[in-house]
């Protein structure tokens, strides 16, 4: 079942893309996709944590005792999330304020812990890096596309640029929680239709 490194990377972009195929990380997906800027920011932050934690956990996979493995993974993941938080505070303060509590919540994002347990703990460093990068980029793409729909229909803007004229009546349902679910479902439906061919 050995896949090449490129295949490990590519699977995260379609076949095993969160949150659609790998049904993980739904909470931040629904919460931060009100605007494209937030979606991209969250995606990049999560990708950084995913890649770094995959690398470290893969490097240490023979050192971490099975009985305390989850505790060790969480320490590693939480460390990288805190680093991301501090860096965002120092360099992208307005985005940090907008994402708010969802940055520390990356620690409990099921994607990160899930890949650590399911992949990084059992594979060597280069495939783990590819896996983390692919799934992280896939996640970022999902967030961006979903946010594009929600922001365009719900606010009438894309990346804070007005799309339609003043006669546009915002479909505010899209930027509320129920709208997020509906949008997610429609996207999944589209993906299934495209996949069936």
């Amino acid at each position: 079942m050995a896949k090449s490194v490129v295949q490990e990377f590519a699977k995260g972009l379609w076949a095993e893309i969160p949150p659609f195929r790998l049904v993980l990380g739904l909470c931040p997906t629904l919460a931060v996709t009100k605007t494209v800027e937030n979606g991209i920011g969250m995606g990049v932050a999560t990708t950084f944590v995913l890649v770094c934690s995959n690398i470290i956990i893969s490097l240490l996979r023979n050192v971490i005792p099975k009985k305390v493995r989850i505790a060790c993974y969480i320490v590693v993941i939480a460390t990288f999330v805190t680093v991301v938080e501090l860096v965002m505070q120092a360099y992208t303060y307005p985005l940090f304020l907008k994402l708010g509590i969802f940055i520390p919540l990356i620690v409990v994002n099921c994607i990160v812990l899930g890949r650590a347990e399911a992949f990084a703990a059992k594979n060597s460093v280069i495939p783990s890096f590819a896996d983390g990068l692919g799934i992280g980029i896939g996640f970022t793409l999902s967030l961006t596309v979903l946010a594009m729909f929600r922001e365009a229909l719900g606010y009438g803007t894309l990346l804070n640029m007005e799309l339609f004229g003043p006669s546009f009546k915002p479909f505010t349902f899209m930027v509320e929680a129920p709208g997020a679910f509906v949008c997610l479902g429609l996207m999944l439906c589209l993906m299934n239709m495209l996949g069936k061919k």
């Binding site: 050192v63 939480a78 303060y93």
Partner: protein
């Protein structure tokens, strides 16, 4: 027994390395974060309480040593006179420290405005200390010498309903600010020329 020892050692090493790394990153980013907070969080509050000033208080700022602490003072210019100064302190709120900046007219010792900067209060309840102007506007015009307390503690400030701890925290912060003011007034006047 040996296994337990190994588990203990591994987790201890993990925590130690993690702690060390985080302390390093924190030190490395501390200055930048302070500047960003000044720019995005305190800046707007300072500009808001010194509405109508003809200069940039963030640019016209000076520091004074208060015991072991260094404090920032922001100057406000009104009608051509640099007669207002703003500075920050903290009071214990419900979820942690509430940061409060007060602007004082040094000629009349009167409060020109009060604003909340950082806080960890309950969103929608205690957070109203920052978002609801009617609460902090109570301090406007009061003398900087009075102790500041909520009505239930015998004072004159109406607390935000449902947010007594937060309101007390703001009052405690303004009280501390008045103490700082009386302590450092001479040095402030010296710096403002």
């Amino acid at each position: 027994m040996r296994e337990m020892f190994r588990l203990f050692i591994v987790i201890t090493i993990f925590s130690a390395v993690s702690g060390g790394l985080l302390a390093t990153v924190r030190n490395g980013t501390q200055e930048k974060i302070e500047y960003q907070q000044l720019k995005f969080v305190k800046g707007p509050t300072i500009k808001q309480i010194m509405e109508g000033c003809t200069n940039d208080p963030l640019v016209d700022r000076f520091k004074i040593m208060d015991g072991k602490m260094e404090r920032n003072f922001f100057i406000g210019q009104f009608n051509g006179k640099k007669n207002t100064v703003a500075f920050e302190s903290y009071g214990k709120g419900y979820g942690g420290d509430v940061g409060v900046i007060a602007a004082v007219n040094i000629e009349t010792d009167e409060i020109v405005g009060v604003g909340v900067t950082t806080h960890s209060e309950t969103p929608g309840v205690g957070s109203r200390a920052k978002t609801d102007p009617s609460f902090v506007s109570q301090f406007k015009g009061l003398s900087m010498k009075a102790p500041f307390k909520v009505r239930t503690d015998g004072g004159d400030i109406d607390a935000i309903s449902g947010a007594t701890f937060t309101s007390r925290g703001v009052c405690a912060a303004v009280t501390d600010l008045s103490q700082i003011y009386s302590r450092l007034k001479d040095k402030i006047i010296e710096q403002m020329g």
